[in-house]
Each structure stands twice: as structure tokens, then as C-alpha cells.
Symmetry: C2
Subunit: 199 residues, 2 copies
């Protein structure tokens, strides 16, 4: 299969590329690095990506920015960061992908543990991650031509404990390599409308 | 208690006003009608509402627009309608209310059945409703001074079957009066971080 991985240069993306690369033709896409670049917040940029890459069998997104900060000080603009990047950006990928993937192809988006298990400073992240999962459930039943869509909800990564560990005290961190298996399950499997929790 | 009801002139809002009005001082707020008006999409308008109303013990929101339409034709702009209105608008209410409610006060937002149970043309609604529920879970653990936040997830209303029934074939419609009980449970109860499902 030809699999587009958006966010390929991130911690999860690199693990996904390693996992899928052994048996698929993986196209690495980053924001400013990778074989192709895309700004997922702009639908035109996503369209240009598919025009450049051509037909594919799957797209995996491990991309998207979130705002973390105290609820008491949260501004509308801060709340909108995750809405416009991790949520709308990934929705853009799905909306465009539905017209460019081969029959039976798959879309895999990334949410996260905070949708179910909140932490301090994570109200925006909880909302955005839940929204991605809701979109997956909603989109799955409308996709034509055997197209599928799933989400992967990772908990904190072992590789990210240095940067974010203080916010996730008591959470069991998982290696990115284990999270990558969930993306493989989505790409190589036959399920749709699922959210694979890795926690 | 003094309870602000935003969306008071809608089908759910009117039922909530009737349910809460028997024992509380209810302040009815609408977009263009009601005792006070607010544009929930603008944080300044929400701030102005609280300045005008003064201290309160609870705020209930039964407000917010959503886009319904086929996934195959959905544009970024259409997907953003619900993000900026039903989601961000209700988040604005919560962000401002946390600084204006009396100790022990409550915030009650409205999501909807589509977060869990998708329908055709509902991908945006599924995403927005799930996002509201994620925000409720995330915000609940950060609110100070005994403040609480809950969501109410109604299914299709009996009163709305004429307008939307064709999209909800097979769903058991509920009367707005029954949905209003869930808001009462949130306002008069002691729970927080919950989503009360009325379906």
C-alpha cells in the first residue's frame, strides 16, 4: 500500500514510519521537513499535498498543535489554537482524503488520552481530542467506496516524559513504538469508526 | 438561586425556564430576545452579559448553532460553524462564568446524542458535541471555589421531529420537559464533570 504519513518527523510519526515502512510504501510529510510539506490548517495546502503525492491507499495523521494552560486564565484565542490546528487540521486531511484515496483506503487521525482522563491545564486538549473522536465516529458512517476512518488515542509517550512528564504524574507512559502498532491496526485492518486507545 | 439561562427562547431553554422557574430566580437570555441578549461567539459580549446581570449561582446554556450536511461536500467553513458557535460559544460562557459565579455555583452546557450515535450529515455535530463533553471533563477538575460544570446530552426532541425527524429515523424522541430535568439535576445537584444523557 502507498501510505501518506503526516507529522512524519514527530515522535509518533517516526515510529509509525518505521512500523509501516517494513511492508508499505510510506510517504513522509512534515510541516517544514519530510519528503513533502503541508500546512494542515489550510485546506488548499492539504489539496496541494494530494495533488503532489497522487493516489494513495491510506493517510495517517500524527500532527496538530494544542494549547496547555490554566483554565482560570484561558483566553478565547488560546482555546482556538487546538481547534484550528489539531482538530480542524486533521478534519481537513480527512475531508480532502475522502476524494483522493483509492477504494477501500483508510484515514487514521490522532486524539489522545486527555479526552477521557483530564489533567490540570488540559481543558482545551480534552475538548480537542474528544472532538477528533466524535468526528471519526460521525465520518465513518458516511464515507463511500469502502473508505475507513479510525482514531488513535495515545497516552503520554515515554519519549515525551522529559518535556511533559510533570503534567502526567501517575500516568503509565508508553513507548512510541507501541503507539505505532495502533496505527498499523487501523491501516492494515478492516475496522472503521474506532478509536484505538493505547493506555 | 439566581440562574442565568442562555438560549432561553429555544425549545429546550423554554422547558428549562419552566422547570427551574418554580424554585429559582431565572434570568432569561437570548440571542435577540429574552430579558438580556448575548452573542456567545464573542467573549466581550459574554463579559458584558455578566456585568449586566451581576453575581449569579448558576448558568445554563442551551444555545449554539451546528452545521448539518453531507461529509462528501463539507467545506472547512461549514465545519467551523459549529466550532465557533455551539462549541466556542459555550466555552466562552464557561470561561467567563468561572470568574463571576458565586462559590459553589454551576455551569451546565449542552452537547447532544450525536457525539455517541452518529447520523448521516452529522459529522460536524458529532465532533462538536463530543468536544463539549471533553471540555466539561477537562474544566471540571480545574474549577476553584466549589464551582461545578456538567453537560446535558439530549437526543432528538419530540418538539423538533417536524423539522429534523427525517434525519433521526428510529431514534426515540423525548419531550423537552424531560430534557429539562437533566439541567435541574446539574443545577440543584452536587456532581461535577458529568454528562447527563437523555436518550
Amino acid at each position: 500500500m502507498k501510505v501518506i504519513v503526516v507529522g512524519a518527523t514527530g515522535t509518533i510519526g517516526e515510529a509509525v514510519v518505521r512500523e509501516l515502512g517494513s511492508r508499505h510504501d510510506v510517504i513522509e510529510v512534515g510541516h517544514s521537513r519530510g519528503r513533502y510539506q503541508v500546512d494542515i490548517t489550510r485546506m488548499e495546502s492539504v489539496r496541494a499535498l494530494f495533488t503532489a503525492v497522487g493516489k494513495a491507499d491510506a493517510i495517517v495523521s500524527a500532527a496538530g498543535k494544542l494549547h496547555f494552560g490554566p483554565l482560570a486564565e484561558m483566553t478565547s484565542e488560546q482555546f482556538q489554537i487546538g481547534l484550528h490546528d489539531k482538530l480542524l487540521g486533521q478534519v481537513h486531511l480527512a475531508l480532502v482524503a475522502q476524494h483522493h484515496l483509492n477504494d477501500g483506503g483508510s484515514i487514521t487521525l490522532t486524539s489522545g488520552v486527555l479526552s477521557d482522563d483530564p489533567i490540570r491545564y488540559g481543558a482545551s486538549a480534552s475538548s480537542v481530542n474528544a472532538a477528533i473522536e466524535g468526528f471519526v465516529r460521525g465520518a465513518a458512517i458516511e464515507l463511500p467506496r469502502g473508505l475507513r476512518i479510525n482514531g488513535v488515542s495515545p497516552t503520554i509517550l515515554q519519549e515525551s516524559m522529559g518535556a511533559y512528564g510533570a503534567y502526567f504524574v501517575g500516568f503509565e507512559a508508553v513507548p512510541a513504538q507501541r503507539v505505532a502498532l495502533a496505527y498499523a491496526r487501523s491501516v492494515d485492518g478492516a475496522q472503521t469508526g474506532q478509536v484505538y486507545k493505547v493506555w
